[in-house]
């Protein structure tokens, strides 16, 4: 699939990236104004990875997400108003306002959930892959995680199981350079995290995570391999998060200059330039994508804000099965 030359695909990819960006900017603003509680993790700057990756999926495929999961949700087709309602602690949210940013799941679209545990989605993805295989289906499972996850025991166990059982899983590492404040260069001895694949006997490839086409091509190939019963793959998409790890990050572990240099490599600007250069879309069509994303996010905020607040009165219904209210 050519994201840059095919007008329909380019429109879709660009609108998805802008929607992720605008959604997170709105969330950032809501938090800054004290209107959103708890904390959340923003993926601004990383939009090309979920966008390129999820374009390789089709109905029935699964994803597992991370604590930084708004982009994965949106790219997999979640409803913005239900996401926003979850973040605003509204009854209409994906988890009835009880989970917040880090627990959005949408089984209807195959999204098995964000996860507050680093590498927590990896064994879940292996499990989903096992289910697909046992049912004799041809679905693929895409597991997103960060560079911090690859040194977790759960990551090793999940990837190894998927490898030895040839499960249809694609492991996508969003290497955004830091696990909280720990530089990936200090946390790992290998040059590319994709090199880890060799230890499990599966293919591993490193791609430019700010280029949705590169991400898409690598994921597409891996998904086809998975559907064909040839087992999992590891894809490392190198990208960067512009914002702090969470809401109380002073950025003491990196420099302003480094952040600015990555802002210059904005995946959205790069993609827009490429699409214009190929004359796939016009300036006004680009603007239409931007406007569509903005309007969708604003509509989601309006709908979510008008919804009833989540109530603590019957919280126990989420704790006991069929128990007292």
């Amino acid at each position: 699939m050519d994201l840059v030359k095919d007008a329909e695909t380019a429109t879709s990819a660009l609108t998805t990236m802008w929607t992720i960006r605008r959604f997170e900017e709105a969330v950032d603003d809501l938090f800054a104004r004290g209107l959103m509680h708890g904390t959340m993790h923003l993926s601004i700057g990383q939009e090309a990875v979920p966008t390129g990756a999820c374009l390789a999926l089709r109905e029935g495929d699964y994803i597992t997400s991370t604590h930084r999961g708004h982009g994965h949700c949106i790219a997999k087709g979640a409803q913005l108003d239900r996401m926003m309602a979850e973040l605003l602690a509204k009854e209409t949210g994906y988890c009835r306002g009880r989970g917040g940013s880090m627990h959005i799941a949408d089984v209807a679209t195959g999204n098995l959930g964000a996860n507050g545990i680093v590498a927590g989605g990896v064994p879940i993805a292996a499990g989903a892959g096992l289910a697909v295989k046992m049912r004799g289906q041809s679905h693929a499972v895409l597991s997103f995680f960060g560079d911090g996850a690859v040194n977790e025991g759960a990551w090793h166990e999940g990837v190894n199981l998927a490898a030895i059982w040839d499960l249809p899983v694609v492991f996508v590492c969003e290497n955004n350079k830091y696990g909280m404040s720990m530089s990936v260069n200090r946390a790992s001895k290998v040059d590319n995290l994709a090199d880890r694949a060799a230890a499990y006997g599966i293919p591993g490839v490193t791609v430019d995570g700010n280029d949705p086409q590169e991400v898409h091509d690598a994921v597409d190939e891996a998904v086809e391999r998975a559907r064909a019963g040839n087992g999992p793959s590891l894809i490392e998409a190198v990208t960067y998060r512009w914002k702090g790890h969470s809401k109380s990050d002073k950025n003491l572990y990196r420099s302003r200059e480094e952040i600015d240099s990555w802002r210059e490599q904005d995946p959205i600007t790069r993609f827009e330039t490429a699409v214009l250069h190929q004359q796939t879309l016009t300036e006004s069509e680009l603007a239409a994508c931007r406007d569509a994303a903005r309007d969708a996010v604003r509509a989601a905020i309006r709908t979510a804000n008008a919804a009833p607040d989540a109530s603590a009165d019957e919280l126990l219904s989420a704790v006991y099965s069929g128990g007292k209210q």
């Binding site: 950032d28 938090f31 104004r33 509680h37 002073k250």
Partner: protein, 405 residues
């Protein structure tokens, strides 16, 4: 081009207001999205504020040292960028207690027709309390609600003592034990002249923060035990005396877990981590970053960590995580030749240790008079957490550790 508010951002889960420290941009300056425009101090540390949009800084409404509630404007930026939230949050559904954000001072784009409830009456209560008459919206722990129902106590009449005005079980039971709930003692015949408006905004320097903490400390039943520690045989390995004594103190705290604790308001809570805050004298005032488990590293490593932490404190480079989780604070005035002093507790910490000057002292020894290297330390204890003998035992253990490593 429209003016859009730059608000005092919430930068940690507990932040409710911030103090403006310094502006890095001036009115008229071009700003890119992501540029650092100013610094604010939260309840704990200074944080940089990034502009959420590109444009021109139109006007500044908060000056350095102004205290501004989260969500209130600190400046306005003239920008062509979309304001994603413009007009979306003014509706009646609102967000309850957290709200009040965009209704600030007639920010651009506000719909005048919707502004009636904003400034209805200048009641001296905080916004949180004003709407809290219904039973459901009174903040109370669940068991307190249950007890209130059992005892027939109306929650709204209970005086809360928990954090953020939350009603605790003891509050309900205390109320039930009283003869009649009666009406709350009217807060003095309501002054005819309305109280000075906007009590939240004002000048609050670093002294105000210390004043809050230490005034709270003065309410704690605390005492100090003093002891001369003999340091002749203490292993130093080139480390500073502060490191040597902190190392021994942390070891002793681990040996007395009952004192490695905080007072939660109604009980002792022991901590798994030995968190030792170090009082550091910085150009911007006293700050106390925390060493975690300093007894679990070797003395030279602790010495290096300590220097690094003090350096970052003086440079204003502490993160929020550097300031959490202490059960005690160590202060050292020895370098000014202070012999001994009484350190006040930093609530909710259970102990504080003061270090006097380390030096040779003439002391009686077995067969006459000798010279020993000694230091007079004072261990302050929250009497609710421990007694005098507990403090004495901890200091005796410190002495043993210093003698025998």
């Amino acid at each position: 081009m429209r003016e859009q508010p730059l608000v005092m951002p919430k930068m940690s889960m507990t932040m409710e207001e911030g103090t403006l420290v310094v502006w890095h941009k001036s009115p008229g300056d071009e700003i890119r999205s992501g540029d650092v425009v100013c610094e604010v101090t939260t309840d704990k540390v200074d944080m940089e504020v990034e502009s959420p949009l590109a444009g021109t800084l139109a006007r500044i409404v908060a000056q350095p040292e102004d205290v501004v509630p989260v969500g209130e404007p600190i400046a306005f930026i003239a920008s062509d960028a979309d304001d994603l939230l413009d007009g979306l949050l003014d509706g009646p559904s609102g967000n309850g207690s957290a709200g009040s954000g965009s209704s600030g001072d007639g920010s651009a784009g506000d719909d005048p027709a919707k502004s009636e409830p904003a400034t209805a009456s200048p009641t001296p209560v905080s916004a949180n309390d004003s709407a809290a008459s219904a039973q459901g919206s009174v903040a109370a722990v669940p068991y307190a609600r249950t007890r209130a129902a059992e005892l027939g106590v109306e929650l709204a009449t209970v005086q809360p003592t928990g954090p953020h005005g939350t009603i605790r079980v003891a509050d309900v039971e205390g109320q039930a034990g009283q003869p009649a709930p009666a009406v709350q003692p009217a807060p003095a015949p309501a002054p005819a002249v309305p109280a000075p408006a906007a009590p939240a905004r004002g000048k609050r320097g670093p002294r105000a923060l210390i004043a809050d903490r230490m005034s709270a400390s003065a309410q704690i039943p605390q005492f100090t035990v003093y002891r001369e520690l003999n340091l002749d045989t203490a292993r130093r390995a080139g480390a500073s005396w502060t490191a040597v004594l902190t190392h021994a103190f942390a070891h002793a705290l681990r040996a007395f877990p009952a004192l490695n604790a905080v007072w939660t308001g109604d009980d002792v809570q022991r901590l798994d981590v030995v968190g030792v805050a170090l009082a550091v004298d910085t150009p911007k005032g006293l700050i106390a970053p925390v060493l975690r488990d300093p007894d679990l590293v070797t003395l030279p490593v602790l010495d290096r960590q300590l220097r690094e932490l003090v350096g970052r404190a003086r440079d204003g480079k502490l993160g929020l995580a550097d300031l959490d989780g202490a059960s005690t604070t160590v202060s050292n005035l020895g370098s000014w030749q202070v012999e001994s002093f009484n350190a006040l507790l930093t609530p909710p910490q259970a102990t504080a240790l003061s270090l006097g000057a380390v030096g040779p002292q003439v002391v009686p020894v077995e067969d006459g008079i000798g010279v020993r290297t000694r230091c007079r330390v004072g261990l302050t204890l929250d009497h609710r957490v421990g007694d005098g003998a507990d403090g004495a035992r901890l200091l005796a253990t410190m002495q043993q550790l210093l003698e025998h490593g």
